[in-house]
Structures are given as structure tokens and as C-alpha cells.
């Protein structure tokens, strides 16, 4: 193994910046008076921006680091940007929320940064143990975040549920990793890929390892049937945390699935394909059908997040089916996740605002008539929902479009038809909120106070992004294609 060099540290620059910033926030917290806690938020935001800058700068130093356990490649870089974006939007959305709910503690920002750090490590890792470490860092931070409203029963429930089921699932992943190591003698993805693609190399129990690892990661991205925790946790956790939960750990876990199942274990073709295919089918259908019955907006968005994971899995199945031309499918997944991050974080932080103090007003009916009290807020939520349901001129449309295109290219016509019909079903429940806001008479119970400026800025940023991706996707598609290139 080569000795550690300065270059190795440069290649994990974003993670270093984030972790240092988190530590700084944590150390500074006792010295900052309660009135000035918001200052910590701005420090964290600066940290996130600096991490982004670091990510941009280290592009010219790409390559493996720490003996091949981490790779600074366009794939990682893309995901790091995405995770930082999710973290920044969450942060902007949570400042005022924490004040209103009287849980404004500096630890929140530190945990958020640590959660992001873990996720960043996951996406850059090319070694199974490193992936596991990243996953644990991100998970433990988010477990705590889910229970951040200590006085609230639901928040506690969410925390506990997430923690218990989450640990159980990580155990599965670890078990899978152990199997892989036992079968092949390595945990490095590159070596794994070489060993498995060597002629005659077909370890007998590899399928067990695959399934175990898939269960562990499937939990993180909440594929059916490992989604049971999702609605409860998303509903119970503080809404800005839900925004983060629904995007960052999920995107990171998807990145890992791409790296592991389409990279390292690529040679185990058929089984992986069918795993992806079946989970895609189940996840889309169940997510959408269950969402139909939800009246609680947070729960509705939770099920919608499950359904979106299903569409992403369609893109992955397409990439798997396309064999050597997997690039299109992978790029479609990357594009989808970016669009999804923009839409979902924005939707949840807006819901956090609408729910008011103590998150009392989460029902769709609580928004009745909101459009006439707060036309701007209602229009904003409508645009987000329209994008989530995939109407043209928004990011959601192109996200679906590229995934479906990849699927059709890979001749998965049946799966594409199911996905398309699912997206029609989805329109119904997204519109439920719109109906309440615009078409029913009455006064909204939901908070009709004006948007605080950090939230407004976050929403404006998301909307600009959504329309930019929806109208001029070309530059972004190039980026996604570039990011997809390091994978086979």
C-alpha cells in the first residue's frame, strides 16, 4: 500500500471541510448565546459553500485516494454537489423553523453537516468498508436529527423507529459485505470486479451476499418491501429533517448501489437485474397506490418519495439491462436524483413552514383557500407539486423522460408502461393539495405568515433550478453523462 500523501487529503477535501465545520459549530455552540444561534447556521452555510468550492477545485486532482478506498472522480463530484445542495437548502429552510418550534440548538447544524459528510464519503468510497463507515456516519447523525423535537411524541417515535430498523438494515449490509469478503478475499470494488469477471470465477454463495447487501441499501432508499419505516419517520421527524432525509441519504445510497451493483458486482448480471426490476415495479406501484389514500401532506410526500425511488430503480434496471451501454441509464438516474433533490427538499421545507409551530397543520385540508391568502406561497407549492408529478417545462418531466428513454432503449417496454401509468396515478394525489389550496372555499388553518427570507431564498433557488432543468436540460445532461462515465 502506498504511503499517505498530501494528494490523498486533497481528494477528500469536501469531507474534511464539512467535518471541520461541524466540529467548529459544536465547539462554538456553548459560547454562543441562544439569541445568536442563527450565526451558527451561517457558519455552517459558509462551510457548505466552501466544501462546494473545494469540490470544484479538486477536480484537477482526480484519482484514487487512501490506497484505493476512495475515488475522487466525476461521479463522486456530481453527488457531492447534489448532497451539498440538499444540505444547503435544508439549512436555509430550518433556521426559522427551529426558532418557531423552540428547538434552536447549534447541534442541529453540526449534525446536518456530519450527516452530509457521511453521505459524501459514501458516494466517493470505492471500498465496501469505507462505504459502511460513511453510511454509519450519515445514519447516526440523521437518527438524532429525526428525534430533534424532543418534546414531541411523534418525533421520538420517528427517531426510535428509524434507529432500530436502520441498525437492523445496516447489519444486513455488513453481513453482505462479510460474505463478499469471505467469498472473494477483497472488499475493494475494483479488485472485486476483476476477480469476479475472471473466467470461471463464480463464487457459489455470491447471490446471498448480493441479496443481503441489497436489503441493507434498499432500506436506505426505501424500496418496497423495506419501506415500512418511511411514512412514519418522514411524518414524525421535523419537516426540514425530513427534507434532508428524503434526499441526502437516499441519493448517497443510490450512488452506492450504482457503484456496487453496476460497478464492482457488475458481472453478477441477471440476478442484479431482476432485483432492480422487481423492486422498481413494487416500489413504484405501492408508493403511488398508498399515496392515493393519504390526507396528511407529509405522509403523502413520504409515499411519493417512495414512488420516486421506484422510477430511479427503473433507470437502474435499464442501465443494467443495457449491458455495456449502461451510461445512458446511469446518467438518467443521476439527472433524476438532481431533479428529485430540488423538488423534494423544497416541498418539505415549504410544508415545514405551512405546518406552523408544533407542526400542527399537516393535513391537505389545512391548506384550504391558501391560494387567496398567500398566492405566492400557494403558487410555489403548486409548481413544486406540478414538477413532482412530471409536467413538461419542469425538472420532474425531464427526469422521468430520461429514465423512460433509457428504459425503452433497453427494451423494458413493460416496465416503462407501468412507470408511465404510475405517473398518471400520481397526478391525482399531488393535485389533492392543489385542489385544497385553490378550489375549496374557506380559510386556511395552515400558517399564512409571510415566508421568512432564508426559506424564500431556498425556494427561489429550487424553483430556478427546476425550471432551468425543465427548459434547458442540455448542460446538465452533459454533466450527468460525464459523471456516469467512470462506471463501466
Amino acid at each position: 500500500m502506498t504511503p499517505v500523501q498530501a494528494l490523498d487529503f486533497i481528494r477528500v477535501l469536501p469531507e474534511i471541510v464539512l467535518a471541520s465545520c461541524a466540529i467548529l459549530v459544536m465547539v462554538a455552540e456553548p459560547f454562543v448565546s441562544a439569541r445568536h444561534t442563527a450565526a451558527l447556521a451561517w457558519v455552517s452555510l459558509i462551510g457548505i459553500v466552501a466544501a462546494g468550492a473545494g469540490n470544484a477545485w479538486m477536480r484537477r486532482f482526480s484519482g484514487p485516494a487512501f490506497g484505493g478506498s476512495i475515488a475522487a472522480d466525476p461521479f463522486a463530484s456530481y453527488f457531492v454537489y447534489l448532497l451539498l445542495l440538499a444540505a444547503a437548502l435544508t439549512l436555509l429552510g430550518s433556521v426559522r423553523y427551529l426558532e418557531t418550534n423552540q428547538v434552536h440548538h447549534g447541534e442541529f447544524y453540526a449534525l446536518l453537516l456530519l450527516g452530509t459528510t457521511g453521505a459524501c464519503l459514501m458516494v466517493a468510497a470505492t471500498e465496501l468498508i469505507m462505504i459502511f463507515i460513511g453510511l454509519e456516519i450519515s445514519s447516526i447523525s440523521t437518527y438524532i436529527l429525526a428525534g430533534f423535537r424532543r418534546a414531541d411524541k411523534r418525533s421520538n417515535e420517528a427517531c426510535l423507529k428509524y434507529f432500530l430498523l436502520g441498525s437492523f438494515a445496516t447489519a444486513f449490509l455488513l453481513y453482505g459485505i462479510a460474505f463478499i469478503y469471505g467469498l472473494t478475499g477483497t472488499t475493494n470494488l475494483v479488485q472485486l470486479s476483476e476477480k469476479l469477471s475472471a473466467p470461471g470465477a463464480r463464487p457459489p454463495l455470491l447471490w446471498i451476499a448480493l441479496i443481503l447487501a441489497f436489503v441493507g441499501l434498499g432500506f436506505k432508499v426505501s424500496t418496497v418491501p423495506f419501506h415500512i419505516w418511511t411514512p412514519d419517520v418522514y411524518q414524525g421527524a421535523p419537516a426540514p429533517v425530513t427534507a434532508f432525509l428524503s434526499v441526502a441519504p437516499k441519493a448517497a445510497a443510490f450512488a452506492v448501489i450504482l457503484r456496487v451493483f453496476l460497478g464492482g458486482l457488475a458481472s453478477a448480471g441477471a440476478l442484479v437485474f431482476w432485483l432492480l426490476w422487481i423492486s422498481a415495479l413494487l416500489t413504484m406501484c405501492l408508493g403511488n397506490l398508498a399515496a392515493l389514500w393519504q390526507t396528511n401532506i407529509k405522509r403523502l410526500l413520504a409515499y411519493s418519495a417512495i414512488a420516486h425511488a421506484g422510477y430511479v430503480l427503473v433507470g437502474m434496471a435499464a442501465a443494467k439491462a443495457a449491458g455495456p451501454e449502461a451510461g445512458e441509464g446511469i446518467a438518467s438516474v443521476l439527472f433524476y436524483l438532481a431533479a428529485y433533490a430540488l423538488m423534494n427538499v423544497a416541498a418539505f421545507i415549504l410544508v415545514a413552514h405551512l405546518a406552523g409551530a408544533g407542526e400542527r397543520y399537516q393535513e391537505a385540508d389545512d391548506c384550504t383557500g391558501l391560494a387567496y391568502q398567500r398566492p405566492g406561497v400557494a403558487a410555489c407549492l403548486t409548481l413544486l407539486l406540478v414538477s413532482l408529478s412530471g409536467f413538461p417545462a419542469t425538472a420532474g418531466f425531464f427526469a422521468k423522460f430520461y429514465v423512460f428513454r433509457a428504459a425503452i432503449h433497453a427494451h423494458l417496454i413493460g416496465l416503462t408502461l407501468v412507470a408511465v401509468l404510475n405517473s398518471v396515478v400520481a397526478v391525482y394525489y399531488y393535485l389533492r393539495v392543489v385542489v385544497a389550496m385553490y378550489m375549496r372555499e374557506g380559510n386556511p388553518r395552515a400558517s399564512a405568515s409571510p415566508l421568512p427570507w432564508p426559506l424564500g431564498a431556498a425556494l427561489a433557488l429550487s424553483l430556478v433550478g427546476i425550471f432551468y432543468l425543465g427548459l434547458f436540460p442540455t448542460p446538465f445532461v452533459r454533466l450527468a453523462n460525464l459523471a456516469a462515465s467512470p462506471l463501466p
Binding site: I408, V420, M439
Partner: protein, 577 residues
């Protein structure tokens, strides 16, 4: 490249942006901005209509810029005769719809006009897009304003109707999206002309079986929109619950998008499959005609009656399209416009009654013509146009369609003709119950007759109805090229009938074909020649005309005065009034 079509498409959106910046309390200003925007768009549309070059085959006013790199989507706009006509219809109905809502929309005025103008942009976009992807974008984007129009300003069951409307349409368009992607995957392009060229080339990239499935996917999307029986169930709800402007636009333009899509995509892209499915579709169209008429007859609600009559009228249009002959096709397209104007006018009239009485139940009215003589007269006029009285627009279209249907299969023609009779029954009976007889309800005695604004709307519509009925030539002439091109693909040989039994001999009996039957890109049917007129470069000699005439299919000669010498030409066959 000129930007005529871009301006036409996005002008209303500019107006919408202006409206967005007007304070919501300044309702008068909002109304005027919206109206003026739509009138300027109308003027622009008329300019486009007049500037349309009859002699130019293919697309005109083309704008083509690359938009998205992968998939290669182009911002490709262009119009042919079919689009021009429907564009004109759209920009004509939009200001009338705004004007018709002048008083009846009192709440949320700003949102209403914003959405109306956005809707107009979407509709124009659908008719000018020449790239499958761009078409799809407009097609979907237009749903959202319509959804809000129904859902916010509609009547009691508006939410149900709005959701039903959007889900039905989305279902169809979702399948269409898959078909578009499949086509793209097979051909590597999304531009309609390029795809057409590949599909009609020597080695089409899609198997006949694949083409059948693709045809069905596209057709389902359009058939829902039309709506073809049995996919029509969203229509009565949406039309009845929508506010007046919504109903006018729905009936006037949105339904036409379905038939436009069939003509623009289904037939040219999948001619073989179209021929295979034509019998089934024709039967469904005939069922639609009869079913729509019969159900109309028993409606107690005026608006529902008009809504169901749309099912019947659009059945005519589909029947005409799938007759695959010039009469049927030109009639169908003409009928699309007629229906837009006549049914739009009927909805406006029903809306005017509703504004006065706040009911639409036929039983609540009776003897209104003594109270509302002007409104009654307009109502009668529009009713007559809708049921196809000669000299009014409906007649031209329906007659040509029935002629075409007869040519395809006598039974279709006969049944469709029954539909005309039924239309007379339900419309006249409705008129009788509402306007004739004694005034039964005391509430009806003190109603005010048409205001100046209402007279203006109705006069404009009546003028168009009369104009289109008496002198359809400017409209039909613009269709020749498009119809010939569609026919050349779907029923090669039939377009030759355009040369001989030209249905456009209607009022211009001296017009004779001037083009060779074998080249479709030659200017068809120039607005020519009485013998006294100058001979154009494309004129055929007397001998070559005779040759062409003799080459016509035998059964065609019996129709539309084919068997006559060029000089006296179609007069014998076509001037039956």
C-alpha cells in the same frame, strides 16, 4: 427565419406576464389588458391566415432552432393549411371567451385572465409545433390552465370534473409519451418530417406490428381528447362544470386537438395501421353520432345537451377523417372549425341565459323569445348552424363528411345522415321548449335582453357562421395541400380524386385541378381557372385533363360531377342547391 409563429404563440404569454404585475384590485385594467392581448393575437392570426401561401407545398413560416441536445429536440415551428385553420379558430375564440366572461367572472379576476392567456399560448403551441417533443410539451402544459379554469371558476361539481378531465387526458398522453420515445428510439429523431421520411422510406425502422401498437398509443391519446365513444365520459362533466370561457375553449379548441393529432400524427405516421383500424374507428364514430344525439335529446340541462351534442359532432369529424377520401377529410376539417364556432356560440348563449336566471334547466324556461327577442334570434341562428342548415357553416362540413362516408361505405353515410336528423330533433326541440310558447315562469318576465357587449360577441360569431357557410372557399383552399399530403400517405390514389371530383368545386364550380396526380408536392388545385382566366404555368392542357379524368376510378365518376368535361366541370355534380 421569421418569428411570426413564435410571436403568435407567445404573445398571449406576454399579456399574461403583464397581467401578473397588475394589482388584483384593478380588475377593469386586467380585463382590458387580456382582451387587447387576445385581439392583437387575433389580428396577428388573421395576418398569418392571409399571408399563407396557397401555392407553397409543405410547411410555411418555418422556424427551426436546436433546443435540446440529447434527445435532439428542435424548437421547430411551422404551419400547413390544417394548422392555419385551427390557429385562426383558436385566436378567434380566445377574445370572445374573455369577452363572454366580462361580467360572469367576478372573483379572482387576475388569476382567471392569467390562466386564459397562458392557455391560449399552450393551444397555439400545439398547432404550430412540428417536433414531437415540442408538441408533447405544449399538449401537456396546456392541461394545467384548463384544469384550474374548471376547478376554480366552475359550478358545483367542478373539482370532480377538473380532476377527471386532467386524469383522463394524462392517461392518454402518458401512453403517447411512451410511443414518442419508442419512435425516437427506432428513428433517432423527434422531428416529424424526418420521422415521416424514415417511415415511408424503403426500410422502415418499425415493424407493422410495432406500428399497430404505436398507432393505438397515439390514437388513444387523441381519441380521449376528441372524445370518441366510449372514451367520452369526461366530456359532459368537464363541459358542464366549466365556466363559460372554459366550455367555449374546451369545445372550441381542445376537442379539435384530438382530431388534429389524428390527422397530423396517426394517419401520416402509421398509414397501414390506420387502414386496418379504420372500420372499427368508423363504427365507433357512428355509434358516437347516434349515441351523442340520443343522449342529447333527453337532457334536462341546456349545457349538458350542448355537451353531448359535441360527442355527436366530433363523431362526424372522426367518421370523415377515416373515410380516407378528399370529401370526408376536407369536410372533417371544416367541421372541426364549424363545431368550434357554433358550439362555442351555443355555450356562450347558454352562459348568457345562466347569467340571467342562474339555472340551465330547460324546464325553467319557455317563451323566452317574447322577453328576449334579440337573444332568441341569435340563439335560433346558432342552433340552425349547429344542425346544419344550408347556407350556414355546419351544412358544408356535414354534407362533405356524409358524402365521404357514403363513398367509403354506404351504411356509414346512411347512419350519419340519421344523426343529422336527430340533431335537428334535439336542437329544435330544445329551442322550442326554451324560447317558444307562453312565458311560464314569472321569473322569466323581467329578463333584460342582450347588452351591447353581448350583441358584439354574438354578431361576431354569427358573421363567421354565415361567412363560413356562404363562402367556404378561402378556408377549404388552404386545406388542399394538407389533405392531399395526408391522403397520399394513407390512401395512395385517393388524392387523385381531389383532381376530379373536387369537393372544393362547391362554390367555385369553375375550379378544376391543375396538377398531376402523381406528384404530391406540386401545388394542388390552384384557385383556378374558368376558361376565361389566364392559364397558369401548371395548367394542364385540355388533353391532359381528359387523360387524368379518364384515369379516375370508375366509382368516383358518379360522384361530384366527375364525368363531365373540364369546362363545365363540377357544376353538374356540386351545385345542388
Amino acid at each position: 427565419m421569421s418569428h411570426i409563429l413564435t410571436i403568435l404563440t407567445f404573445l398571449p404569454l406576454v399579456g399574461a406576464t403583464v397581467v401578473a404585475f397588475i394589482p388584483r384590485t384593478a380588475t377593469a385594467k386586467i380585463r382590458w389588458v387580456a382582451l387587447v392581448t387576445s385581439l392583437v393575437t387575433l389580428a396577428w392570426g388573421i395576418g398569418l391566415f392571409l399571408g399563407f401561401d396557397l401555392h407553397h407545398p409543405g410547411l410555411q413560416f418555418v422556424e427551426n432552432y436546436p433546443w435540446i441536445e440529447s434527445p435532439p429536440v428542435a424548437y421547430h415551428l411551422g404551419v400547413d393549411g390544417l394548422s392555419v385553420l385551427l390557429l385562426l379558430l383558436t385566436v378567434f375564440l380566445a377574445p370572445l371567451a374573455i369577452l363572454a366572461s366580462w361580467r360572469s367572472i367576478g372573483e379572482r379576476v387576475k388569476e382567471f385572465h392569467l390562466l386564459m392567456l397562458a392557455l391560449e399560448t399552450g393551444m397555439n403551441g400545439v398547432f404550430v409545433a412540428q417536433d414531437l417533443f415540442l408538441f408533447f410539451v405544449f399538449w401537456e402544459a396546456m392541461l394545467i390552465p384548463m384544469y384550474f379554469l374548471i376547478g376554480i371558476w366552475g359550478h358545483e361539481r367542478r373539482i370532480y370534473a377538473a380532476v377527471k378531465f386532467i386524469l383522463y387526458t394524462m392517461l392518454g398522453s402518458a401512453l403517447m409519451l411512451v410511443a414518442i420515445l419508442y419512435l425516437y428510439n427506432a428513428t433517432g429523431t423527434l422531428e416529424l418530417p424526418a420521422i415521416l421520411a424514415q417511415l415511408s422510406g424503403p426500410a422502415p425502422p418499425i415493424s407493422p406490428k410495432g406500428a399497430r401498437w404505436l398507432f393505438l398509443a397515439f390514437f388513444l391519446a387523441f381519441a380521449i381528447k376528441v372524445p370518441l365513444f366510449p372514451l367520452h365520459t369526461w366530456l359532459p362533466d368537464a363541459h358542464v362544470e366549466a365556466p363559460v370561457a372554459g366550455s367555449v375553449i374546451l369545445a372550441g379548441v381542445l376537442l379539435k386537438m384530438g382530431t388534429y393529432g389524428i390527422l397530423r400524427f396517426c394517419l401520416p405516421l402509421f398509414p397501414e395501421a390506420s387502414r386496418q383500424f379504420a372500420p372499427v374507428i368508423s363504427v365507433l364514430a357512428v355509434i358516437g353520432i347516434l349515441y351523442g344525439s340520443l343522449v342529447s335529446m333527453v337532457q334536462p340541462d341546456l349545457k349538458k345537451l350542448v355537451a353531448y351534442s359535441s360527442v355527436a359532432h366530433l363523431g362526424f369529424v372522426v367518421l370523415g377523417i377515416f373515410a380516407f377520401n378528399p370529401m370526408g377529410l376536407e369536410g372533417a376539417i371544416y367541421q372541426m372549425c364549424n363545431h368550434g364556432v357554433s358550439t362555442g356560440a351555443l355555450f356562450i348563449l347558454v352562459g348568457m341565459l345562466y347569467d340571467r336566471r342562474h339555472t340551465r334547466l330547460i324546464s325553467e324556461f319557455g317563451g323566452l323569445s317574447s322577453v328576449l327577442p334579440v337573444l332568441g334570434a341569435f340563439f335560433l341562428f346558432v342552433t340552425l348552424s349547429s344542425l346544419g342548415l344550408p347556407m350556414l357553416n355546419g351544412f358544408v362540413g356535414e354534407f362533405l363528411i356524409i358524402l365521404g362516408a357514403f363513398h367509403r361505405r354506404a351504411l356509414y353515410g346512411a347512419l350519419a345522415a340519421t344523426g343529422v336528423v336527430l340533431a335537428a330533433v334535439y336542437l329544435l326541440w330544445m329551442y322550442q321548449r326554451v324560447f317558444l310558447g307562453e312565458v311560464r315562469s314569472e321569473k322569466n318576465r323581467a329578463l333584460a335582453d342582450c347588452s351591447g357587449r353581448e350583441k358584439l360577441i354574438l354578431t361576431a360569431m354569427a358573421a363567421v357562421i354565415l361567412g363560413m357557410g356562404v363562402y367556404p372557399q378561402p378556408f377549404l383552399r388552404r386545406l388542399d395541400q394538407s389533405v392531399a399530403e395526408v391522403l397520399a400517405r394513407v390512401q395512395p390514389g385517393e388524392e387523385a380524386a381531389l383532381v376530379f371530383g373536387s369537393p372544393k368545386g362547391w362554390n367555385d364550380a369553375s375550379r378544376v385541378a391543375t396538377s398531376s396526380a402523381t406528384t404530391f408536392h406540386a401545388p394542388w388545385l390552384l384557385p383556378l381557372p374558368g376558361p376565361e382566366r389566364e392559364r397558369g404555368p401548371l395548367d394542364l392542357t385540355r388533353d391532359s385533363r381528359r387523360e387524368l379524368r379518364d384515369a379516375a376510378p370508375a366509382e368516383l365518376k358518379g360522384i361530384a360531377g366527375v364525368a363531365c368535361t373540364p369546362g363545365e366541370a363540377p357544376r353538374a355534380g356540386m351545385n345542388r342547391r
